[in-house]
């Protein structure tokens, strides 16, 4: 059964390992993640952060162990999950609004934000007529976040959301994410810049060599 009450479980990983050939990207990871919290994943390159997010998104299947998101297989819960990767996951040839309109129409049953509203939320002008290929890295990153926010996901998975962003854009994004979390929605983000995520981090999960090195409460200020 899906637990949607505050403090209920959003996701559970039980002894999850992921092997790519003989390389173990994740080793026996077991964590429970609560609804309405912000989890920050930290660790060096190759620690398994992105792999963990992709498993939660249902884009990778674990080699061993079980994963449940909202009590279901991640793939079955995918319309409730928003996933943003390093890459923008958008078409270079379309404008920001055209990209968002395209993705919004792939979520027929869900109440989506309007593309213009999603773009405004991330601080972009919806009337921008340039194709995405001509945007700066930071603008692409924001458009990508707008795409993720479109179908009002209940779980937000963000892989390095602050990379390529200036300080002001980072603080705007952190405020946006704080508002998102207040709606009893869950955020899991990876970052190398721990200080950027500190104002919203309820928990900090450190990975090392594919294992959980520590899982400690943060001290959010937002």
């Amino acid at each position: 059964m899906t637990d949607t009450a505050p403090g209920g479980k959003c996701a559970r990983l039980d002894q999850v390992s992921k092997l790519f050939g003989s390389f173990a990207a994740l080793r026996q990871v077991s964590v429970e993640l609560e609804l309405g919290r912000c989890y920050v994943l930290i660790g060096e390159n190759g620690a398994g952060k992105s792999t963990l997010l992709r498993i939660l998104a249902g884009l990778l299947r674990p080699s061993h162990g079980t994963v449940r998101v909202f009590g279901m297989e991640p793939h079955d819960a995918r319309d409730r999950i928003g996933y943003m990767s390093h890459a923008p996951m958008l078409y270079d040839e379309l404008t920001g609004q055209e990209n968002l309109r395209y993705f919004a129409s792939l979520y027929p049953g869900r109440p989506c934000l309007s593309p213009a509203e999603a773009l405004r939320q991330v601080g972009l002008d919806p009337e921008l007529s340039r194709p995405l290929g001509q945007y700066s890295q930071g603008m692409r990153q924001r458009t990508s976040l707008a795409r993720v926010l479109l179908p009002a996901p209940e779980l937000l998975l963000l892989d390095e959301p602050f990379s390529n962003m200036d300080v002001e854009s980072v603080s705007q994004m952190v405020e946006l994410l704080a508002g998102f979390r207040q709606g009893n929605r869950t955020i899991i983000l990876t970052t190398h810049q721990r200080e950027h995520a500190a104002p919203i981090a309820d928990w900090v999960l450190a990975l090392k060599g594919g294992r959980v090195a520590s899982f400690e409460p943060g001290s959010p200020t937002l």
Binding site: Y83, P88, M89, D92, Y102
Partner: protein, 223 residues
């Protein structure tokens, strides 16, 4: 009525091609080159021209299409757009069918642009029932793009995908290519009835399109 997601994917593919014109330009240039080179090599006239024209047209279409089919999923791979599409609660079959329809349109446009050049360079006069070409060419083109789009998706994660696609596609497309060439030659020469080859093409299309549609979700959600 066309499902909404299918329409959405198709409009997106057409819009992107309209802006970039990558697929049509590369196919057209390549097909023109093949048609002109063959006409210079064989100096085709009269009956001889009608006998080889079917083969030249089909082979030119096939080789030209591979350049576009190889790029069919390139945009989806470039910025991990495919992952965003995999996360959406829609069926992969609709994405596949939209891609096939878009590629079919692109190849058909190239064939239409090629037709007058072909008639001039090969001094062609159709002896059979010309309207049957309107059946043979779309059926053969569909066979090519349905298989090509599927195998292009299958090979996107391969390092040698540009080499892999023709290696997988050509042997599987061979029965449809033979039927397409023989039917076109029958129509151009008027020597025999192409009905059998047209039925074979239609059967091939139904079998391979259905199989690709059924299997595409497995390819789409592969890691």
């Amino acid at each position: 009525m066309m499902p909404r997601a299918l329409w959405t994917h198709l409009v997106k593919d057409l819009r992107i091609e309209w802006r970039s014109r990558e697929a049509i330009n590369s196919m057209l240039f390549f097909a023109l080159l093949v048609v002109v080179l063959f006409s210079l090599a064989f100096d085709p006239r009269g009956a001889f021209s009608r006998e080889i024209a079917g083969g030249v047209l089909c082979v030119a279409t096939m080789f030209a299409s591979v350049s576009a089919l190889n790029q069919a999923w390139a945009r989806e791979i470039r910025h991990q757009v495919l992952d965003a599409q995999r996360m959406a609660p829609t069926s992969g079959a609709e994405l596949f069918l939209a891609k096939v329809l878009a590629n079919f349109l692109f190849v058909s446009i190239v064939q239409l642009l090629l037709a007058p050049v072909f008639l001039v360079f090969y001094n062609l006069r159709v002896e059979g029932q010309a309207w049957q070409l309107a059946l043979v060419l779309p059926l053969g083109t569909w066979a090519l793009v349905a298989n090509g789009t599927f195998f292009a998706a299958l090979s996107i994660r391969s390092r040698n995908r540009e080499l892999l696609l023709p290696l997988i596609l050509f042997p599987i497309f061979m029965p449809a290519l033979l039927a397409m060439v023989l039917a076109t030659t029958s129509i151009l020469t008027g020597d025999s009835d192409p009905a059998l080859w047209i039925k074979l093409l239609a059967g091939y299309d139904i079998i391979f399109t259905t199989t690709s549609l059924l299997l595409f979700d497995v390819v789409f959600h592969a890691e």
